[in-house]
Symmetry: C2
Subunit: 388 residues, 2 copies
């Protein structure tokens, strides 16, 4: 299809551009997540001001509420949410298996109950594809079946084989010419299956490929070894999108291994919990030590928040649970990731990506893995409690 153009490489790292119906994406790229047709706490002017021109929306959420037929009647997702940039929609595969309840899978499709109201639904490759065509996203994803860490080899293989069959069915029924349909490489945490998945899907000749089912709670070593196990078998002339990444350090690692596109809710989710990224690591801006600090969250940061407010003020807003805090923190974190990918692209063109990565990571205190997973568990527990 020729929608992706590889412009430069530096080791495995790649710089390129992806052409879509609503503009050209410069890669490597990070995509903010606008699950329910809005990037939480922000408006599109914020998103644009941070330099983003592609956002990810979730077919699963929009299908349940307000409905893809409805959005089509409203003129499509771009018009409904008044965003003239690019949109990528996830198929809902990941959400059906991670958020919905009582998912029951057959080869035809997957029965599940809505996480909102328990209502019954049925997704097939055809339904998920049709739904995304109704939304009119620039990039749609095939319906896939990821597996959780801990799945057996056999379970992983079955899910992978089904993902491949479903990918074919998605491709067969996909009709919209202004929308590109990306396949999703699965294979869990089995490097051999990862290779097979990449090769099998490569033969089907999709316009772009994602790596799914990684960065879902496993240790980082597993993430990167399984990425490496598949990415080298993915077509060089197609965009490679690693789903669910992530943190600043993970962006560097993924780009280093040849990833072109990434998305994750982490930036905005931790922002709403007062966790902000700086070049030396994470800070929790609601901690008492930031009281009295008349300086930006990060000296030299060009985000709206840092150009406008002090740590002391953002600390005050968070401590008082003021709504404005969530927006200011989200802007800071998203702009932080945007600067990383802008810098990465330039470094790749300049043939100094390794130095760029090293300079960042030498300075950046990565969160201890145990602390990180504990934090995530606490977040999930709190959320489960809220929904109970």
């Amino acid at each position: 299809m020729g929608t992706f153009k590889l412009l430069a490489t530096d080791g495995s790292a790649r710089a390129g551009e992806l052409h879509t119906a609503h503009g050209t994406l410069l890669t490597p790229a990070f995509m903010p997540v606008g699950t329910q047709a809005t990037v939480k706490s922000l408006v599109w002017d914020d998103v644009k001001a941070m330099g983003y021109d592609l956002v990810l929306c979730n077919n699963y959420h929009l299908y349940l509420n307000p409905g893809c037929e409805y959005i089509a009647q409203m003129g499509g997702l771009h018009k409904f949410m008044n965003w003239d940039g690019m949109i990528l929609t996830d198929s809902g595969g990941f959400q059906v298996f991670s958020m919905a309840t009582l998912a029951k899978i057959k080869d035809e499709g997957v029965h599940f109950r809505s996480h909102i109201d328990g209502s019954k639904h049925f997704f097939t490759p055809e339904i998920a594809t049709r739904a995304q065509e109704l939304l009119g996203s620039d990039i749609a994803m095939v319906l896939d079946q990821p597996v959780a860490p801990g799945a057996t080899y056999q379970q992983t293989k079955e899910a992978m084989d089904r993902t491949h069959r479903w990918a074919e069915r998605c491709k067969a029924c996909h009709t919209r010419e202004d929308q590109q349909l990306f396949a999703i490489v699965q294979g869990g945490f089995e490097p051999e299956l990862r290779r097979i998945s990449a090769e099998t899907l490569a033969e089907m000749d999709f316009p772009g490929y994602a790596i799914g089912g990684l960065s879902v709670g496993e240790g980082k070593a597993l993430t990167w070894s399984n990425l490496e196990a598949c990415i080298k078998y993915m077509p060089e002339d197609k965009a490679r999108y690693m789903m669910g990444v992530g943190s600043p350090e993970d962006l560097f690692e993924a780009i280093d291994r040849g990833v072109d596109m990434m998305d994750c809710v982490l930036a905005t989710r931790i922002a709403r919990n007062a966790t902000l990224w700086t070049s030396y690591g994470r800070i929790n801006i609601d901690r008492p030590i930031y009281k009295g600090k008349d300086e930006p969250i990060e000296e030299g940061c060009d985000c709206y928040t840092c150009r406008t407010f002090s740590k002391a003020y953002v600390n005050h807003l968070f401590r008082n649970k003021e709504l404005t805090a969530y927006r200011l923190a989200s802007i800071h974190n998203l702009r932080f990731l945007k600067r990383i990918v802008i810098g990465a692209r330039q470094a790749i063109f300049d043939g100094r990506y390794s130095e760029y990565k090293k300079a960042f990571l030498d300075n950046y205190q990565v969160v201890n893995e145990k602390v990180r997973l504990d934090q995530k568990q606490r977040y999930l527990d709190r959320k489960a409690k809220e929904q109970a």
Copy 2:
């Protein structure tokens, strides 16, 4: 002091300007409320874009958290919150008697417990004045003692007399030359006391005067009769600020009776509950009937929200409890009030204020008083439950 300049009258309605250390306020004016040094859900660029140049902050809240001494150390309230417009601070009198618990009043001052953590505090006229000097607001208010609807004549008179004694003490200890101290007329719902309060305070020669203790839950007839009972005895050459007003229809009534300045949380509070003002009345944008409506909240409205998003989209955001909804709704309602006062000022200059008011009210469906008070009670009940 000559800070207020009356420029035109039309019947009792007045157009003027109030000069302060951080700019000139064109009156009649409405002031958005930024209780905790932020207008809930907004940033100052939003506030400015709506045309506002004066916001109200609450000494009571800032005194408790993060503290007025602290804000002074941070360079004052303007610098702390990075707002270069005008600030009016309420003294905390109203909050001590309405929000704090176990308020115990003596002539020296009032003992109370924080609504946040139950900690003990003591406000005197001197302390409240000093706190506002530390904040460095452009306009400070005297510490007053309002009474609730239902207070006896004797209770009302005692509170009024104390308010007068406290006003004198505030004036005596006030030193900041870049800050104007306004007195507050009290007298509850006793027209005779209202007159006495206005006359007594007028003799003390404050640079501006507020009308306090009205619009606190009484019926509208009582509000306006008690306003009328005092406003005619207030100095013509000083600004007249009616506290806690309000709704679109109340702005018209207050201006009609000679009020120059008003403030209220109503615009932003109901916005966060999905209630929006239009020229034909209130709408609840989260109602199902707004699904599918591809039109602005109000045709012709020049607010950011109406220029950018449809009813259908704002409906979607509210139904999904998306944070962005609160900001978009707050912007719409605050801009709605701003347009009313801009129009009122022009109408007064043109000598057609009555027609302007009539044209608006003929079109605008006022909320039934019982419905309104029921809604308010539900809000208070919900809030009490949240805090319990």
